[in-house]
Amino acid sequence: VTGRKIIDESLYEELEETLIQADVGIDTALELVENLRAEVKKRKIGNPEELPAVLKELIQQALGEETGGIETGAEQPFVIMVVGVNGVGKTTTIGKLANFYKEQGKSVIMGAADTFRAAAIDQLEIWADRVGVQVIKHTEGSDPAAVAFDSLHAAKARKADVLIIDTAGRLHTKSNLMDELKKVRRVIGRELPGAPHEILLVVDATTGQNAISQAKLFKEAVDVTGLALTKLDGTAKGGVVVAVRQSLGIPIKMIGVGEGIDDLRPFNAKEFVDALFA
């Protein structure tokens, strides 16, 4: 945009390409640029240097009014169920999140309900140990709903403030696996009406447009209430979450920016949008 004297078609194309490159998606990018054209006309903007700021404004609007983070004070235990496709960072995010709440002085318990993947329970146990919290687990191959049930019992008995339940990665198109997830949620809800209070969908920032399908099917199956976007410390921008927020209304709550215990931040729309253009 710098060095340009007039607002012309090539400027709009350049902005569209910046959005596409950030995985905003071609349809959403075209829509945003159309809205930008309308704003430019409406506000009678003549200086090309003003356009990025207006476009950022439009994207921030699309990302919604909510502030990031997960408020856990309303219930006890506040139950968070973490879901998502394979390898996106669920288990690691749970470790970081547990630490975050522990540092706030809250008591946290983890539920190792990924009873399928090799060494998944071991992995969560190492995180529990690092954070200094208890993890409820069964043996590998046992029923994840039974682990969720026991975790909730333990959380109630020990008056834990937060219970975070890890689940196995699964592709959203596998109906038997999505049924399993529905069962885990049902069992939690029977044991504690209203729980899980947060159903957090973890999405990898390197994911392209498939994130929309993931969010749609996970939402249909277990009513996702929030999104955690991981691996933003790489070069991917995670722009697909704009379409997810717009079409499905799922607020982005947290972002993962590394493999370390402190590499978790509440979502900040302004910082996120600035980074799309960086």
């Binding site: 950030a22 998606g25 090799a118 060494a119 071991d122 994911t207 399908s213």
Partner: protein
């Protein structure tokens, strides 16, 4: 799908008489939309569209009675051609063991694919050894040991306090002594922009001179696929790519992006979590999938 949208576009354009080159540009906008929508990198799409246009004009699409069909066929054939035409076998070393190194971003499927690949190559007569060279991720070594156990296959580990290049060297030495003619090294996930960790991979390469360096890529990767593939290739000289999680509904445009930017053959695809879910890559099928 794309075919229907092109029919519509050409119908409107034809309505005013003979087709012009500008009309073809208009129609190709639909192709661009379809490919970017399938996660092909937008710069790769730019080059691709230019090739398709050249072929279309060259094949007299302006005179065609069925321009939409003709363009779709050219797009499909060009996609398949670009993603194929290369060797998708594992290169065996002239003297054993053959050493394969698995690299890639976090969570792409390296550890699982290491076990799957060993399983597949054992069926071809090899005696594989798996090497646990991820000393960082919690329970990574245990994960590979569990998979090795499921396959009844040896897993070499030196715990998590020995440097990966030293683990790799010791593994190859042991493989030679034990008669394992295939060594597959699982490495830790890392960012292509992490200089220290990329240097670690180069040290492993310099230590054991792998016969194959395979980049494991999650098939749902978006525009970033070119950055990742380009950097890994520049730093390590990849010999191949494995695309994982194709048992989902991702269109998989990353396949074209990765091939276009590295020239490396896509050797296998991951089609599930089970250890037998590794298949040969078929460019024609991938082209169909990308075009939806």
């Amino acid at each position: 799908g794309l075919a229907e949208r092109l029919q519509e576009t050409f119908k409107k354009l034809r309505g005013k008489g003979r087709l012009t080159e500008e009309d073809v540009d208009q129609a190709l906008k639909e192709v661009r939309r379809a490919l970017i929508g399938a996660d092909v990198n937008f710069l790769v799409v730019k080059d691709f569209i230019a090739k398709v246009k050249e072929r279309a004009i060259g094949s007299d699409v302006l005179q065609s009675l069925t321009p939409a069909q003709q363009v779709v066929k050219i797009v499909h054939d060009e996609l398949a051609e670009l993603m194929g035409g290369t060797n998708s076998k594992i290169e065996l070393a002239p003297s054993p063991p053959t050493v394969i190194m698995m690299v890639g971003l976090h969570g792409a499927g390296k550890t699982t694919t290491t076990a799957k690949l060993a399983n597949l190559l054992r069926r071809q007569g090899r005696r594989p050894m798996l090497v646990a060279a991820d000393i960082y991720r919690p329970a990574a070594i245990k994960q590979l040991q569990v998979l090795g156990g499921q396959l009844n296959m040896p897993v070499f580990s030196m715990g998590d306090s020995v440097a990966p290049p030293d683990i790799a060297r010791a593994a190859v030495d042991k493989a030679k002594r034990d008669g394992n003619d295939l060594v597959i090294i699982d490495t830790a996930g890392r960012l292509h922009i992490d200089e220290e960790l990329m240097a670690e991979l180069r040290r492993i390469v310099d230590t054991v001179h792998p016969d194959e360096i395979l980049l494991v890529v999650d098939s749902m990767t978006g525009q970033d696929a070119v950055n990742v593939a380009k950097t890994f290739n520049e730093m390590l000289s990849l010999t191949g790519v494995i695309l994982t999680k194709l048992d989902g509904d991702t269109r998989g445009g990353a396949a074209l992006s990765v091939k276009a930017v590295t020239g490396c053959p896509i050797k296998f695809i991951g089609m599930g979590e089970k250890l037998d879910a590794l298949e040969q890559f078929h460019p024609e099928r991938m082209a169909d999938r990308i075009l939806g």
